[in-house]
């Protein structure tokens, strides 16, 4: 049960973003830009960064939601599955492997990022903006994961829920829709 009363039809982050819309606004703006804005990294690649960090933070809700979004954007489920076990074995570019390893270090601590892992990403062709955005996405998901689990929000067991949420993230991104999450009420 969540640590504060939240609407039952709004599990995970969704209830928190509706509970406190004033603080949700800059978080949504940041997420929309960093995951969907113009970038040399594709939305799928950026969702992979969100997924690996959420997975390593053991945040069930965020891992399932962003895995679903990445799977839909990639059109397959293998990449996420393999990446969670072994970044080097994942069918992604050498540059992405290097960036995912930086994200993994950020998950541990900002101080855990080594000059070596940065040099490796640069050697694989990563730009300064790509390295910057990787670190910020990883940092942002350390926020989300702690927010979601620190408030003990509910993570639905039904995989269908995350497919639906992932589709919403693919279709509409991270801005608040005018009707909020009213469509979720029908499912419950």
């Amino acid at each position: 049960m969540p640590h504060i009363p939240l609407p039952e039809h709004l599990p995970g982050i969704t209830g928190l973003l509706e509970y406190s819309r004033v603080t949700a606004e800059p978080i949504r703006q940041l997420t929309q830009f960093i995951l969907r804005g113009e970038n040399s990294l594709t939305p799928a690649e950026r969702e992979l960064i969100a997924t690996i960090v959420s997975h390593n933070n053991e945040c069930r809700f965020c891992t399932a939601a962003h895995t679903a979004a990445a799977d839909l954007l990639l059109g397959e489920t293998e990449t996420c599955e393999i990446m969670k076990q072994d970044i080097d074995a994942a069918p992604v570019s050498s540059k992405m492997k290097a960036l995912l390893k930086i994200a993994k270090q950020v998950q541990v601590s900002g101080k855990a990022v080594t000059a070596e892992s940065i040099a490796n990403a640069e050697a694989e062709g990563a730009t300064d903006v790509e390295i910057h955005d990787t670190v910020l996405i990883a940092g942002l998901f350390c926020l989300y994961n702690r927010y979601v689990d620190g408030m003990a929000t509910v993570a639905p067991a039904d995989p269908q829920f995350y497919t639906g949420l992932g589709q919403r993230l693919v279709d509409h991104g991270y801005n608040r829709l005018t009707n909020g999450y009213d469509h979720l009420k029908k499912q419950n």
């Binding site: 504060i4 930086i102 408030m151």
Partner: protein, 188 residues
């Protein structure tokens, strides 16, 4: 030197990163402004202490010292008290409620899953309501992002507490929004 080439290497900590990527600076500044100076049942001084405490636990010198300096400005304390945050608040007057909330923030710093029902019950017993618990968890989570952003990109930070005096005054009384924010993106 930072891990990426910043346009102005003389700017410390997050300030150099704001200058590097104005697109993300906008929402990040608005988030800090909303969390630390926006409406909340907690005073700005209390919220800055939470931010400084989490930053200290994350070993982020820039964020710890700058937010401690902002807290001192709000509370009208001398900068020498910055180090008291490291000692677990032996000199700074901390109410039992704030102490219970600082305990929750310290749990969030480790992982969202560390926050127990007992931690929340202890804060409620000292008079903390839903919004105070929510704001504490979100501030702590947000500083787990800010700290990783600042250190993950290897920014530099002045060592001496005195170097943060003016910065803290500005953070406390002028606020965090220094770049023009697109108003149309903000809901009324």
């Amino acid at each position: 030197m930072a891990h990426i080439a910043l346009p102005d290497e003389s700017l410390p900590g997050i300030v150099g990163l704001f200058n590097f990527r104005p697109e993300t600076a906008g929402p990040l500044q608005l988030l800090a402004e909303t969390l630390l100076r926006g409406e909340s049942p907690l005073t700005s001084g209390e919220r800055e202490l939470i931010a400084a405490h989490v930053s200290y636990l994350n070993n982020c010198h820039f964020c710890h010292t700058s937010h401690a300096s902002a807290a001192m400005a709000h509370l009208g304390c001398d900068l020498s008290l910055i180090d008291d945050i490291k000692q677990g608040f032996q000199v700074i007057e901390v109410s039992p409620k704030l102490r219970a909330l600082l305990n929750i923030a310290a749990k969030v710093q480790k992982s969202g899953k560390e926050v127990t029902d007992a931690d929340v019950a202890a804060a409620r017993a000292e008079g903390a309501a839903d919004k105070e618990i929510h704001d504490t968890v979100l501030i702590a989570a947000a500083f787990c992002m800010f700290n990783r952003y600042v250190d993950g990109l290897g920014t530099w930070a002045p060592q001496d507490n005195e170097a943060y005096r003016e910065m803290g005054q500005r953070m406390a009384f002028t606020g965090y929004v220094r770049y023009p924010i697109k108003q149309d993106a903000i809901e009324a």
